[in-house]
Symmetry: D2
Subunit: 391 residues, 4 copies
């Protein structure tokens, strides 16, 4: 395997400004790195081969900036985009850092906080439209509780729905070409967060007035934090035609949100996720939401950012080789994997006909079927061989 | 607190035959208890104050029974129901014990197994109708995988949808007054199970041809196995009007499926679940899906079954007292809990009006709002006091 | 159950200054509360009924203070202790907040950091002696790694042993009446922390030059973060005569370190922990290491601190009632619990005699023993009844 | 990377008879495979390149066999060993399958069960000696509880110690060249198992009369089930000179005990474990304790067994290449990894000298040290490249 895993703009890699810009402040420690100028970040990411950036409003324009400072910042930032050709493919709102959101934003028990959160988001939607972002991500990091006594969950879902209905109406009214993507997470920073998994978010979307405008932005680490199979979750989102955006990173099981660089934790799962995205023709950004380790110095930040892209490209090449390998195709067939795409009923078969088919039940040899070969271990080991570069 | 926690039929407690009938076979050990006659179980449960029983087809009628044995068994069983007044409130299908289902049932890669699974289920739906069960639960215990290579998840969801569409058509054709309830579970016995949480099941249901006929049957332990807040999940199901049935039990966090008796693990969470069910006017069965500890002898089985009901009744009384306590009501108000039911927009308020309201943003004192009292700890401790009987 | 759960100094409750002083800064949010004056904290805690305080060096004396500031601070602090009668029962060192410790302290790959960490700790041992603290806790929050490539674990354990051997020599040389207590934690803020559980810490202590001077300081939440049974862990520490100090709090399973107030998460486990501590005659401080919820305002802090003590007192009263209940004693006997204290060999019995006893093997009726009653469910439900105040 | 990963006897691979012999019975399903003749298993494993086998008494000699049947079985088995040259490197006792052990074995509340468990084990120690096994593993699968009320943990540890003290005395008396290895596991089949992790087992061993005769047998999956870093745990066991035996397999995080084939779950962690074992000169058997997937037919069993060895050999080759790579050596140095082996005190340096060294504290530039490069991300990505075969 040669070393040609150098990203280009066509690979559609993007990074949150908050990722490379993370200063390393954690619950037990102070910042280890100085603030990072977003303009500098755009240039460095462009040099590394990225295609786009994303950000929370406050990542770019510090909370509480006045109008003049805001405009000056945006002007400099736009210039950096122009110089580098980088795009802003997604924007999101910070509804979690400031103490005002300590008990929630769209679902805070305090109505004035809810109104403020709506206004902050609406303003940011305008910015998204202005900068050409077509995806607007919503992570409700503070929408949750530590005490079951202190949050009426059904009322909270009503308020969450109210918020998204308002946003959909707003972009419709304004004619913005923007779609929303909800980012689920089970917990942290709240003890339990509402819409904790891909499934809960998909279910919620179906209750909205405009479900067609809202999808999900699943994160590898967040699904891992619920102990769920990451590829399975993304596949259900694709199946529901709701995979509007993605957050790629790494997480070692059930613990604090690690935001490791992509591939750094579960390599096999990362392979199958890339395989799914590529096989399914996912066309959105390959977006990284990770945190360079707190122990790294500023240069280590760029090493880790480059590594995210490199690992994706390696896994993409492996996924392609895996799909092209004749022995793999034979092993997939031996495991019956392609057969699952065949409907269980024959074309045009009615329930009555199924009931009348003795081969389906009365004459079906369940004991023999119970003894059949399934060939899963062989297939799985072939995957391991591909991942390890051992064939 | 007096000792009047004796169940009656009006409490609508029901038990799976497989719960009290569990013989104690586990992955590392042989059965510790002899098989239990379902007729005996019906009588014992009735004596303890239960209202109903539920079962998998094979719990009552051993797999592979011929027609005559089947009829004889059903006749005895019906007689027991008549004698005791017990109802069969739910029926479900065993699609997991026999080796034929080792690689799945509705989503097995082998199409003949899928057809067999449909037939086994359709036959069991007839039985449900015959016995008057109005809820038909579907737990897809074998619908999953241990290897990401060996299951095309999107195809599997297609097949799962095909199955439920068929079942809905079938009960419609036959005019059965039956609704379906999907039981989510993240894993075990498969490494990862499809539709792993309440959220994923709700999202799936929305893709069906007849979503109105299908709801969920969440289990306390299963949601716990994904590290999720149990009450939150049930609340989202209620919010979506999909809480068709429930499985009450206990589970100590992320490990093998324990099926402890109700209340035996997370007592505080159990309290808030009962509070939710009672406050929301949930009208279905209070159904226990637990396993008496393997170490118990046959009499210990009935002790544990009685304890499930007793604990529910104690918690129900406590939930009532909690809601009636004036100090609690004041504390709920101080924490702003009831305020969340008030829409964030004023009645008739438009987005334009929200945008034009300076008190919502321009004049909103975020710093003061960030310092406001939320009074959660006090409220939560009041709940603890109620649970502990310390007030 | 009356409401007499008001703590007194005789209850030996103590609090870390960092607990009530936590400002609510978390990985996703800024501080919600102003810094708390330690002198004020001492007074408020004394008023609430606490007996002592504990602290990291930097909690009291800001990192980098000069000698004069240090002395002034200590003088004010000592005066507060004198006025209130509060004791400093334990001191610990902050080896995790400053960026210098970003890659470890005693086990940092950088030797100069290791030397600095030793010096900072030795200086703090002097302070402990000066203030009369007899327990010196060591939590190695940064002693770990996110990458298996970047830490030689065996070398790290050598360095950890070197550090503790130095500290033991130091207090011996100086004649300080101080013992050390290692606080295990599986992860956070590092991906994996060395000495992750009570067991690992106990095992490590046995490799030291002076194991008799070092014990453990287990935290409820930390053991829960490894999915372990909290009471079991404390019991093994007691069994090894190594329970030198404790951290009481609450944690909902495997997620970020929640530091909930004591009893707020797993109530049943909290009951059995209190029962163990009281039954075993644990004589150390009942020390709380919790964080008042970030959403609370400054008054909420004291509500939560008071609640920690109240819950302990309630559970202590319940444990006493549980042990005194005749039916419980009978149920414990029926479950064979006291029998486990009887040695398996008879007094003086040799192995040869055991081998020659046919009742032990050749004539032992394993089938009958396999069917015996164990009466666990009944006993456990009695415990639930006691916890719930339902008897 | 060529395909030369064919095991030979010199690789010292061994398998439990219960691994390839697992019939696929799980908590929700019946057996999918017929019983496997141990003699056939010995031959097949030998053909695949294995060096040894291990077993529980009951794996080879069915529970309850009479003396004649026992001898006949042993004779056939010995012949298979002779024919194939396979060794029995370890033996262990089944103290968990039969109902008699439902409430524990060495720590059952029932003393007669404890005596029976001692006898069953002593008998099996004789067999181990007879067959030349030098490692005797003890997994206390039933030594635990589901209820904190029903087990006196300190008494249980007394009884556990009594058992191991007896066993050590016994092999000493008999002059058997046998050592014991305790296998920790956090839970399953009991809700909580005593000695739940490597750490707890090491700590326990230190309380025995003959700690030098007892070590640990850690299992990849078991440590994963406590959310712990597998390599860290093995490293602490090596550090304590207690890694007497190992169980290699795979496990996806916190769920039921999966016993996947080695490498099938966390590939990166598996790499670092192999790297540790090889670098540390671990000389024991490379022993696999896995379960071929229940869905596999009998031939799939051997595919999975071969895959365990193949993956080990691939990872061993990679570990060697990793250690030999000049860029890796440079990156390790840049990350300071080798520096950790240097004592923190200089040779002969006293504490007084450390205290007198101003460069260690007074003149130490903590801010600069806080900004230093640690180069972890680069090193970790190099490891990823090696694992993926991308360099």
């Amino acid at each position: 395997m040669g070393d040609s895993f150098v990203p280009t703009r066509d690979d559609h890699f993007s990074f949150g400004l908050w990722t490379v810009g993370w200063q390393g402040r954690d619950p037990f420690g102070d910042a280890t790195r100085a603030p990072l100028d977003p303009v500098y970040a755009v240039h460095r990411l462009a040099e590394l081969g990225a295609w786009g950036v994303t950000f929370h409003d406050d990542d770019l324009i510090p909370f509480g900036s006045d109008e003049a400072a805001r405009e000056a910042t945006l002007k400099r930032f736009r210039a950096a985009l122009d110089e580098t050709g980088m795009v802003v493919e997604m924007i999101t709102t910070n509804l979690f850092t400031h103490p005002v959101f300590k008990e929630g934003a769209f679902t805070a028990n305090d109505r004035s906080v809810r109104r403020y959160a709506l206004r902050k988001t609406l303003r940011n939607i305008d910015l998204a439209a202005e900068l050409g972002a077509q995806i607007f991500v919503a992570w409700g990091g503070r929408e949750g509780a530590e005490s079951d006594a202190a949050k009426d969950v059904r009322a909270a879902l009503d308020r969450m729905k109210e918020a998204f209905d308002i946003f959909c109406d707003y972009v419709t009214e304004r004619g913005y070409p923007i779609k929303f993507a909800i980012e689920p997470k089970p917990n942290e920073p709240r003890g339990d967060i509402l819409l904790p998994t891909i499934g809960h978010a998909l279910a919620f979307i179906n209750e909205l007035e405009h479900p067609e405008m809202v999808g999900v932005n699943p994160e590898v680490g967040h699904e891992t934090m619920a102990g769920l199979n990451v590829m399975h979750g993304y596949a259900q989102a694709l199946w529901a035609k709701k995979l509007f955006h993605i957050d790629l990173n790494g997480q070692h099981g059930l613990k604090y949100d690690q935001d490791l660089r992509f591939g750094a934790a579960d390599l096999k799962s990362s392979f199958f996720l890339v395989d799914l995205l590529e096989a399914a023709g996912y066309e959105g950004a390959r977006h990284f939401d990770f945190k360079p380790l707190r122990a790294e110095d500023p240069e280590g930040v760029w090493v880790s950012a480059a590594a995210c892209m490199r690992t994706y490209l390696i896994l993409r090449a492996k996924a392609k080789a895996w799909r092209a390998d004749a022995e793999v195709r034979e092993a997939l067939a031996a495991a019956g994997v392609p057969d699952l795409s065949q409907p269980t009923l024959a074309p045009g078969e009615t329930i009555a006909e199924l009931l009348a088919d003795p081969t389906a039940y009365e004459q079906f040899d369940v004991e023999a079927a119970g003894r059949r070969a399934t060939n899963i271990e062989r297939l799985d080991q072939l995957a391991l061989d591909h991942i390890l570069g051992a064939r």
